[in-house]
């Protein structure tokens, strides 16, 4: 065993300088090619990512309407956001709405996705068809999702009330009742859980058959197997989905925008009593309705910091889990 390894080494070592010697100057030209190939992506990155990120940070310390020159105001945007409830009356409300939405939508989505994945994983015939059907809502444009669900939730002619009527639940005005807005939005999120379902399916497929068999031999029933084998084995998948799910839910925007826009001249407000005023919708309104770009940038940095803290805490938590 040892001798071939020893024999290989001298044969390999001279090969490398040999290749270099055959192509003098390739290093320099290769560097140039490398730079040229990343140049378009680099230009994009600088113009549309790096500069905007830094500019947003700068603008968050200014008062700016996009047209005249920004006026430096220091930390005032940030302090006003948190403490001036005359200037920003709905700031805390939007945070509350977003947190509530996240707390309801993320677990609901993951439980639905896991249930779907478990069911699909147990069957053979038709599993591709079910996977496809359950995935359809994911690829649907949020403008269409919003439009379709507004019609489904219609208080008088909506299908949701009609179906619930069959089991004796009285008609609700889903999108116009403050307490029902978050559940209604979370249900749409769960309806669109297809990505999590696919990722859970991949997670289920990666559980070795031998572990399941061992549990069967040890006399574990299906319920025990689910809680003692499947759930622990899926923990990394769940963790990933929780992190990405929270980060996505905190940024929910397009859907609420479509759902609560409309009625002709009525402007977007975020639903009855601001019960659907998601944080990003709040930012959007300040930036593009009230032209308060500086304040909007400050709000978006509060979100950025919040997301970074969550990511950081969760990864600390994961490291602890692993060790």
């Amino acid at each position: 065993m040892a001798s071939p390894v020893v024999a290989q080494r001298p044969a390999e070592t001279p090969a490398r300088p040999g290749r270099r010697r055959r192509r003098p100057g390739i290093g320099g030209r290769d560097h140039l090619v490398g730079w040229l190939l990343i140049a378009p992506a680099m230009a994009y990155f600088i113009i549309f990512l790096l500069y905007p990120a830094l500019a947003a940070l700068y603008y968050s310390f200014t008062e700016w309407d996009l047209h005249s020159a920004p006026i430096w105001v220091g930390l005032q945007n940030y302090t006003d956001l948190f403490f001036d409830d005359v200037k920003y009356p709905h700031f805390w409300k939007s945070i509350q709405v977003t947190l509530q939405y996240t707390l309801v939508a993320v677990p609901l989505t993951l439980v639905t996705a896991l249930a779907q994945a478990l069911l699909i994983n147990t069957i053979r015939r038709g599993s591709n068809l079910f996977r496809l059907l359950l995935f359809l809502p994911v690829v649907t444009a949020e403008a269409a999702v919003g439009a379709i669900w507004r019609w489904l939730y219609d208080p008088q002619y909506g299908l949701v009330n009609a179906v619930l009527g069959l089991v004796g639940i009285p008609r609700q005005n889903w999108l116009n009742t403050p307490e029902l807005v978050i559940p209604a939005l979370a249900f749409i999120a769960a309806w669109q859980c297809g990505i999590s379902m696919i990722i859970y399916l991949a997670g289920l497929k990666s559980i070795p058959e031998s572990i399941r068999e061992a549990a069967v031999i040890d006399g574990a029933g299906p319920v025990q197997r689910f809680f003692k084998v499947t759930v622990p084995m899926l923990r990394p998948t769940t963790f990933y989905l929780v992190v990405t799910g929270i980060i996505a839910a905190l940024q929910v925007f397009g859907l609420v925008y479509v759902i609560f826009s409309g009625g002709g001249n009525r402007s977007v407000t975020g639903g009855p009593e601001q019960s659907g005023l998601a944080y990003v919708l709040h930012i959007y309104l300040y930036a593009f309705r009230y032209n308060a770009m500086g304040a909007a940038c400050a709000m978006s940095f509060v979100l950025l910091v919040f997301i970074m803290i969550i990511t950081f805490v969760q990864f600390k938590f994961m490291k602890q889990e692993v060790s």
Partner: protein
Amino acid sequence: MNQTTVRRLPIYIALILLALVSVVPFVWMLATSFKNGPDVYTQVPQLLPLDKKTGEWNPTLGNYEYVLSISGLGTAFWNSVWITCVLVPAKLLIDALAAYAFARIPFPGRDKIFVLMLAGMMVPTITLLVPRLHVTQLLGVYDSPWGIILPNVASVLDIFLMRQFFRTLPVELEEAARIDGAGRMQIFWRVILPLSKPVLAVVTITSFIFHWNDLVWPLIVLNDPQHYTLPLALQQLASTESGRAYYIMAGAALAVIPVMIVLLIFQRRIMQGIAFSGLKS
């Protein structure tokens, strides 16, 4: 029926119920879109396009005609088609070139630049919107199709995915091509790209779906209804015609159906792609 079939019956019933929840909204959308206005608003939900009074078969294409011509969804549809057809290939090329350099060409600073780009992915989109809008104004592309294309013409996530894939290709192939006298670009076109069809397919399809559906950026950068993309035109329609569900559902169907077709054709690749990357959202 054998025993396994009987045991699996409840599972199939559960799956059929879940699939119904998933699909019925689309069926309802289509059903509404083919109904005449008065027939839409019935106390008991009616799947088929029947006349409200006489109960006779009474479907119409009028809603589609109306939204395509009068609400401007026809223009918007073609705007979306050509924007996606320019954007997706351009983006694919820019991302693939960069991914190849990051995967295979050693040049000074390469890995630092790559890490910086990945860090940029963490910034939420909403943070970038205001300065990006300002940049498009400075570049003179505000309220034009290029205002959609340019700010989307590369993607760090796609560069990352392609780089990961390119790195799994055997170096020996490239070395053999080099010995035969091929330059970097020839290797890229003749060796790397033909071997990378799976990842190229995933990135192309997910990009198509994402940009076809995108509402937020067009909402901010477009002003003239002549330039609207389909999702934006649909949002406007849903807002101005909010009392006329039959028009809105026809508009929604126009936005949904092309993507459904793409999903049906490429479902296997899309599912595989998600299993290792997650869809961009």
